[in-house]
């Protein structure tokens, strides 16, 4: 027996996985790091996804950056998630980096990739660390 705490976010009260029959989800964070030179634009960067399970991408967050940048994502089939670059202040509330939800989730197949275009906007060297939160979806035997 448990009593739901009305003040708490749902996850504090407990969220079990919601996954299809025959599969099992475990939370996983993929980390992407890049060091940009001043005003450098990098196209078609790839964050490789592990080969042991599909990755259901559910949120994105800027972990750290030393200056402003802009970014655009694509999935493993080259589907771009925006028609232009998104400036990094989009992902902040004041100085706090906020979780940017991906809804509906994007399923990247095992061994696939998340495509990234990224450009420095700070006119100075810029080290950026991003995290892609979601779950690994394992296929159960049988």
């Amino acid at each position: 027996m448990s009593r739901i705490n009305p003040y708490a976010p749902p996850a504090y009260n407990g969220l079990a996985g919601d996954y299809p029959n025959g599969f099992y989800d475990v939370s996983f964070d993929n980390v992407y790091e890049v060091a940009l030179t001043a005003n450098q634009m990098l196209r078609d960067q790839q964050l490789a996804i592990d080969t042991d399970a599909d990755f259901c991408w559910r949120a994105f967050q800027v972990v750290s950056n030393t200056g402003a940048f802009s970014i655009r994502f694509s999935d493993s089939q080259g589907y771009y998630l925006s028609n232009g670059m998104l400036a990094s202040p989009t992902f902040f509330q004041g100085t706090f980096s906020v979780l940017w939800p991906m809804f509906p989730e994007i399923v990247i197949p095992a061994g696939g990739r998340i495509g990234i275009d990224i450009q420095d906007l700070s006119a100075a060297p810029n080290t950026v660390q991003l995290v892609f939160r979601g779950v690994k979806r394992y296929r159960l035997p049988g």
Binding site: N13, G14, V31, L99
Partner: protein, 288 residues
């Protein structure tokens, strides 16, 4: 970083074959060395219950990066990475009894309150907190034994914190915790949230407690709800850095029981005497 909205204010006491006790496992990194990175650290879990991990708090107080593992020692991050103050675990992770939460810390940097006394040792509060519930199979949670209706209520108490984190005059040896309690009289009380405010020596007004004390909270059976004292900001709801809501799930104190708590000071000599004000926010259960 919390992407979720608040849920509607309702509660349930459905019959299940287990009891979930809100609980926090704290890893104290006070003995680590700044600027070093550590791999294969572990927080052991006690026997007698599963532990279901739902929230990780406090990485910025101990290191610049973290990677943790599940019951099967599988990494849950592709590499150590900076965590937000609060990290929600979705889906929740179940650890069996006697398991451990394994993790790596990248570039340790221990949060502390330092004295201006030569030769003193700072009051460290480099805590990594794993919040969730201990699940006791085959047990039932305490229930209110009468028909009731709930009315919101807050029990407040002032705690004089007259001692620093370490013993004067050298401030090298740690002070111990001190025990306090509040009587829950008349009716059952459902505790939902804790607010901790503190007024330091010479301050004009109280401020939200944030690195000032550690607290061990006990349930009505005098069972501690953490393995060691918990930093105020990880418990207190009125904190700018953390989205702390403890206890989750809520906790029932029956009539004539005690809300017991131990306070460990993290204050320095110039902060004392101080007054810690705790608000135990919840609801009375009035018979009807």
């Amino acid at each position: 970083m919390n992407p979720m909205t608040q849920v509607a204010p309702w509660s349930h006491e459905g019959q299940t074959d287990y009891y979930d006790q809100p609980f926090a496992y704290l890893f104290d990194g006070d003995g680590l060395t700044d600027a070093l990175s550590y791999t294969n650290l572990a927080q052991p879990l006690v026997s007698g219950s599963d532990f279901i991990l739902r929230r990780i708090a406090g990485m910025p107080n101990i290191a610049t990066g973290l990677r943790f593992r599940d019951r099967n020692s599988m990494n849950r991050q592709s590499q150590a990475v900076g965590f937000p103050h609060d990290y929600v675990v979705m889906p929740e992770i179940v650890y069996p009894p006697d398991a451990q939460i394994g993790f790596d810390l990248e570039t340790v940097l221990r949060a502390n309150n330092a004295y201006a006394v030569l030769g003193s040792v700072p009051n460290f509060f480099a805590q990594l907190a794993f919040f969730g519930v201990r699940r006791f199979w085959g047990q039932q949670a305490p229930r209110t034994a009468y028909r009731y209706h709930s009315r919101p209520y807050t029990i407040t108490t002032d705690v004089p914190v007259t001692w620093a984190g370490r013993i004067a005059p050298l401030y090298q040896v740690l002070e111990g915790p001190r025990q306090f309690s509040v009587l829950v009289d008349t009716n059952d009380f459902e505790l939902q949230v804790i607010h901790a405010m503190i007024q330091l020596e010479g301050a004009a007004a109280p401020i939200p407690a944030n690195g000032h004390v550690k607290i061990t909270l006990y349930d009505q059976n005098q069972q501690a709800l953490s393995n060691t004292p918990v930093l105020d900001s990880y418990l207190s709801d009125c904190n700018a850095d953390y989205n702390s809501v403890f206890p989750t799930p809520t906790l029932l104190y029956k009539a004539n029981s005690l809300i017991r708590f131990d306070v460990t000071s993290l204050l320095i000599d110039t902060d004392i005497p101080a007054t810690l004000t705790l608000h135990f926010i919840g609801a009375w259960r009035f018979p009807c």
